[in-house]
Amino acid sequence: MSLSRRDFVRTLGVGAAGAYAAGFVSSRRREAIAFAAQTGMPAHQVINLSNNENPMGPGQSVLDAIERALGPTGASAGRYPFAYATPLQELIAKKWKVKPENVLLGAGSTQILVNATHVYSSREKAVVGSLPTYEECFGYASLIGSRTKAVPLTSDFRMDLDKTMYALKGSGMLFYCNPNNPVSTLVNPSESKEFLTRALKANKDLRILVDEAYIDYVTTPGHETMIPMAVQEPRLIVARTFSKAYGMAGLRVGYAIAHQSTIKELDKFHLGNTLSGLSYAAVIAALERDAADPAYIPNEGKRNAEARAFTLKWFADRGYKATDAQTNFTFVDVAMPVEYFQAACAKEGILVGRPFPPLWTHCRISIGTMEEMQRAVQVFDKVLAASKAQAA
């Protein structure tokens, strides 16, 4: 998205690491976690690779739809937009060949994650997730006093299914982020299905929330969504978002697909009225575009794959190990504390991802446009070289 629109990044402090208390109360849930450094650089020179945003934006047809929804005077923005929930649910249902009763909307999949954690975890019934994983469920669980169990990854940074199975005993909810954030790795569909089935069988009270936020960026052939399994299995929920491949992180729309009875359970806690009318118009337009132009999102996946491959090769050529990235971000061992790498890059106008304990030297770097990545690696080069020189 146009860099020239970027304001100066403001200082939020790189003290994020200190905020990671033992209980996983994530500072992400306070805003300050999305650090920034006061670069003093003109806005158009700053490249933001810190939050896995899609640099291409939502697409022109979506922007046009928002403008039309706003209308010439903007009067429609004064009306409550609740009537659009139903058509949107129906469009989502049609896309996935499920029923509207299988769909729950949220202000970003964030709301779905919070909702599920609230309903299915407690002091006795833990939330289980990998260490690290996307922090929202753990952070919310800590807020409400639910137990949490974090399961270390395998040596190649994948979810450790055997260890996870052990942790599931007596637990309330498994947060199964696949592909996983921040490590970018994937568990393939046959392994996933087998594991999820076995996990549900072994634990009669367990719910599983499968977060497929990044699924449109997977390039491993044969990957499948768990949506068909979710509508059949009352204890399985799939969360999706319009924030990533659909390029609408700022518009705050996500959804869950689950068995009808599960949706009803979630809906009891669900906070309604969080979606904006313009956001409804945007995602409705995007779904219509999916139907009219089914290559659009896959093409976005291809664009990302190219820039991602470029970035991965750049690090690999210089001996820096990265995980097998199946998303729109890479997870690279930069061989120095992430905060230092972050701060040094920020001084040069490149914003990279926050620390993800306990992987203290791994940096999550989002994939921007090819041009952005070409500029970014020049900064990485400088920062990494300086660090090597210091170490020598």
């Binding site: 929930a85 700022g250 518009l251």
Partner: protein, 399 residues
């Protein structure tokens, strides 16, 4: 897409869950029959030319030209999270705090008041720390309290003017977790002046210092009674008081989901953890930012509303129907007819008015204030629907 030809659902209750079966409309389903294909994207239509929606206290003019321009200019930020966009949520938070001479820690943003009210129950109430509310007041906090297993004490409104009974609410507040003080009150439209509110706040602070008072000032901007002023100052002065505000009413952004609470650092600090991460959308933030830069626009809107409100009240009073002293963008009228009957009667003429408001649903109707043109047409419909319903100019509030 047939969606573009569909008008909004009319009789929507803002508090209703979006999944409530009774609420899912045939129109929505209709809109999807057949065509998904190469279709023009929908635009959210205004109400049909001949339909008047005065049921949900919306501002018929929307947020105004500055806000609309800001949205258009910031479409390019749609892919950025609110902490990364050109107009960040932190910047808006700081800006709002600045208006009150306060700091960002004194303000928490929310996607409309709904979340704030619910988080208030979570932060300050418990099974042994009830919620206190007026009996005829905004319903959401009571519903939320019920969901979270918090007992509720409701206090009947004052008979003579249907205003909140502050004296009795003060008594009920002792030992409570939270008092929900809607001022101006929805649905009665009445507002207490600054002295009465300050007395109330001081009393509760002294007699029950761990009882919190949430003053919901959603309709603050529309008040014309000079004895009223916002309690934001009190909120910054008294730890146990905080104020919730919205951009949905006078600011005309009901569709954009923007609101906030202001209060002491400790109090807001207890509320803020429950905030939904990234709750506010970037286009709404841009609109809010532009509106805060355009106070003239709000002043004009308040004048416009006051004029049309007067016109509408004059109609009812002139026809012999008692109405409360409204300080908002809606009126509460004693039609002497069940609200349902009045509502259904009006709907036949494509005029949508407010839902039932117990305990006055057998006799009173809430009607939002639309444009002057809309209210001129609506009052003709009211005349017909009321027909020979008994007038009651003599006494207030008695069924």
């Amino acid at each position: 897409m047939t969606l573009s030809r569909r008008a909004f659902l009319r009789t929507v209750s803002p508090g209703a869950s979006v999944m409530a079966p009774a609420w899912i409309t045939a129109r929505g389903r209709e809109a999807l029959e057949g065509e998904l294909g190469a279709l023009p994207s929908p635009f959210i239509p205004p109400p049909d030319a001949d339909e008047i929606r005065i049921s949900s206290n919306e501002n018929p003019l929307g947020p105004g030209p500055s806000a609309a321009s800001a949205i258009r200019e910031n479409l390019g930020e749609s892919n950025r999270y609110p902490m990364n966009s050109r107009i960040t949520d932190s910047a808006v938070q700081k800006r709002i705090a600045g208006i009150y001479g306060a700091k960002p820690e004194n303000v928490v943003l929310a996607p409309g008041s709904t979340e704030l009210l619910r988080n208030s129950i979570r932060a300050f109430c418990a099974p042994d720390r009830p919620l206190v509310s007026g009996e005829c007041s905004y319903e959401n906090p009571v519903r939320d309290a019920e969901y979270f297993g918090v007992p509720v004490k409701t206090v009947a409104n004052r008979e003579q003017d249907l205003g909140l009974d502050l004296d009795r609410m003060a008594g009920a507040a002792l030992g409570a977790g939270l008092v929900f003080l809607c001022n101006p009150n929805n649905p009665t439209g009445t507002a207490h002046g600054r002295t009465a509110i300050a007395d109330f706040v001081r009393y509760v602070a002294k007699e029950s210092p761990y009882t919190y008072v949430l003053i919901d000032e959603a309709y603050n901007e529309y008040v014309t009674d000079p004895s009223y002023s916002s309690s934001a100052e009190l909120a910054l002065k008294y730890r146990n008081v905080y104020v919730s505000r919205t951009f949905s009413k006078a600011y005309g952004m009901a569709g954009l989901r923007q609101g906030y609470a202001i209060g002491g650092k400790e109090t807001i600090g207890r509320l803020a953890p429950y905030k939904l991460t990234f709750g506010t959308n970037v286009l709404g933030l841009a609109a809010v930012s532009a509106s805060l830069d355009d106070p003239d626009h709000i002043a004009k809107e308040v004048d416009r509303n006051a004029e049309v409100r007067k016109f509408t009240l004059d109609f009812f009073r002139g026809a012999g129907y008692w109405a409360t002293d409204s300080q908002t963008n809606f009126i509460f009228v004693k039609t002497n007819m069940p609200a349902k009957q009045f509502r259904e009667g009006c709907a036949k003429f494509k005029v949508q008015v407010g839902r039932d408001f117990p305990p006055y649903e057998k006799t009173h109707a809430r009607i939002s204030i639309g444009t002057m043109d809309e209210m001129k047409r609506a009052t003709e419909v009211f005349r017909q629907v009321l027909g020979s319903a008994p007038t009651d100019a003599a006494q207030a509030g008695k069924s």
